[in-house]
């Protein structure tokens, strides 16, 4: 039912159209370019946003669903932390150091290392025909803890990141070690880990039985990569991230500086410049990881290199998932270019913050033998990231 006033307006419009249409019949129809008239009328009405004609602009459509993970276990506001809970002598964030190379100031706080942690990243795990890795985890608390772990390696551009997951339970203060190439299954300790092949990384997150903070920050680890025949060894401690507030294990781990420590924004290394017969390597993995969808994270790595004369060089590279890059790829890390035995190497991931290490190789000693050692980075700044466990 239309209102009476609407019926009156409709009748008036019909009369007007009838009157306006009468003189038009007196004009020769062949002389009128009706398409031009309609186009002009459309433009005029369009300028009033009342066009009866379809617009040329595409109709907005509902955006297709993206692969962005929906954090189902997003921490709620009940986890709102108070800084008083974590009263520690953590250094007061210092002023940005203006003029730090060409990178500008580093925001955020780097994750403190070598402390009992809630998430560990081992950036370099190897098992092949000539080398293996002894992986060691230790429970640093007097509680039982569950630990979710994933081996990850690059499986190429099609398959992305290949992963193998497992879970171990550690009793109070228990150490747990195994060879990556063999795995372990110990019925006495009720712990098992699958074997792993290739070169990749290992991530382990604490899944505590209670939401207390000290139940999360319970784990540390170490990996010893060795050549079976020569005994060349690279041993290093895992990169640790502490939980900052109590709560349950979220599955999707927000490394945001609030729930967990942030990822380091920059990695600083003091490296040996490469010479013939002694080529060091750079091991890199993105801090961000989606183990649920096995997405291969790709990022550009910007590098600044400062020699002992404070001369600054730069370089860059790109990698996805996990990479071991020899220094020969970067001429700026060569002794011939640098002019000094050591250099200060600063790395920054563009799309994702990085975790990594350098494997030093050099010749020396009384017999000029080849030496190898792990070179862990110093960390600067923080950048938010997410690690999603299935």
């Amino acid at each position: 039912m239309k209102a009476p006033w609407m019926r009156r307006i409709a009748a008036a419009l019909l009369v007007c159209f009838a009157c306006a249409g009468a003189p038009a019949r007196a004009v020769e129809i062949d002389d009128v370019d009706w398409s031009a008239v309609l186009r002009a009328l459309g433009i005029a009405l369009d300028s009033w946003r009342l066009s009866p004609f379809p617009r040329m602009t595409p109709t907005p459509t509902v955006p297709p669903p993206t692969s962005t993970p929906i954090p189902t276990d997003t921490p709620t506001s009940t986890n709102t932390p108070t800084r008083t809970l974590t009263f520690t002598p953590t250094p007061i964030p210092t002023e940005p150091q203006a003029g730090q190379l060409s990178f500008g100031p580093a925001p955020g706080l780097a994750p403190p290392q070598r402390l009992a942690s809630a998430l560990l990243i081992f950036p370099y795990i190897v098992h092949n025909s000539s080398a293996d890795t002894r992986v060691t985890l230790i429970n640093m608390t007097n509680r039982d803890i569950g630990v979710n772990c994933f081996f990850v390696r690059d499986a190429g551009p099609v398959l992305g990141c290949f992963e193998i997951g497992f879970r171990v339970n550690l009793t109070p203060l228990q150490p747990f070690s195994w060879f990556a190439g063999e795995g372990t299954n110990n019925p006495l300790t009720f712990t098992a880990a699958p074997p792993f092949d290739g070169v990749g990384e290992l991530r382990c997150a604490v899944d505590p039985e209670v939401p207390d903070l000290d139940a999360h920050n319970a784990l540390q680890g170490r990996a010893t990569v060795f050549e079976d025949s020569s005994g060349d060894t690279v041993a290093y401690g895992a990169v640790g991230f502490q939980r900052r507030v109590p709560g349950s294990f979220p599955g999707s781990i927000p490394l945001d500086g609030f729930t967990y420590d942030q990822c380091p924004e920059r990695l600083h290394f003091q490296v040996l410049s490469h010479q013939s017969g002694s080529v060091s390597s750079l091991v890199l993995t993105p801090c961000e990881q989606d183990l649920l969808r096995q997405l291969s994270i790709s990022t550009v790595v910007q590098m600044q290199i400062v020699n002992e004369f404070e001369q600054v060089f730069s370089s860059s590279t790109r990698f996805a998932c996990h990479a071991v890059i020899p220094f020969t790829k970067f001429s700026t890390l060569g002794r011939a270019t640098l002019g000094t035995d050591t250099a200060h190497l600063v790395l920054r991931g563009v799309s994702s913050p990085l975790v990594g290490m350098v494997i030093d190789r050099f010749r020396g000693g009384p017999d000029n033998s080849t030496h190898i050692s792990a070179n862990d980075p110093y960390l600067e700044g923080g950048m938010p990231s997410t690690v999603i466990f299935p």
Binding site: E308, F309, G365, D376, E380
Partner: protein, 306 residues
Amino acid sequence: MRSLSLLIATALGVVALATTAALATSPAQRLPSAIIMYPNIRAEGDFDTRVEMVNLTSRDQVVKCHYLKPPLCSGSDFIVRLTPNQPISWMASEGTIGAGFRPVAVPPFFGEGTLKCFVTPEDDAGLDHQNAIQGRAIVYGRDGYTESFGAIGIERLTPGDFSTTFELDGVTYAQCPDEYHFTFIASELGNPDTESEIILSTCDEDLENLLAASTVVQFQIINEFEQMLSASTSVRCYDRQVLSRINSVFSFESLGTPTGQVIVRGVSGAVIAVIVDKFETPGGAAAVAGNEPALSRGRAARIRIP
């Protein structure tokens, strides 16, 4: 009046508890620091050490360093001037003269000991002037023998003038670590290639009066079956000891599992500890690697330099 007193007492109690919590925190590592302690420098026989230090700020830094040798913790000292972001390295047995645009002279060092370096900022310098450096030492010898250790870093926590007495109290500077958690590989009795070593030094130093600190060091050992064992030794200034000679619990025959966790703690004062892992690969090759610990809790210490 009584209620006011009660309120003040309660507030003081809260502050005291908070302070206690702060005192129990171990120093965060791998960050720019004001004090760095290299746990092992070795330049004797077939061994030499490459000492590395890097300025992680965009400011000039002056760093005062002390080589320390047992038994008196005496040694030589020197000053390193670092330009912004400058790395510097030298062989311990050779020292160095000149690197970069600032004059640097490092004396040669012979023997075995530690190196401690302190950032000496200008007056009224902010924290970012003082938390500035990091370092590493690579000991190497014959047949590819290599031990590499990052320096233990101690951060300045509150701004203030430089003093020759460093209070590692959790307020002015971070504390020394109280407990060191190592995973270790059990040795095989009678096989010298598997005799892992522990390097111990004291965190407290009085270099002005050359008073070498000493302490008993307690070990708590946990095998993979969660069985607990213990051992102890003592250290004055600096020492390197074979684990299985300290106690047989570090051997596979006593431990019963191939690896274990050992918690190291100084009794009279805080210590600095690292382990040199020695083991045989399944293929029978001898392997060596530096073993850096995870840290737990903190303990006050004082370092006094001339």
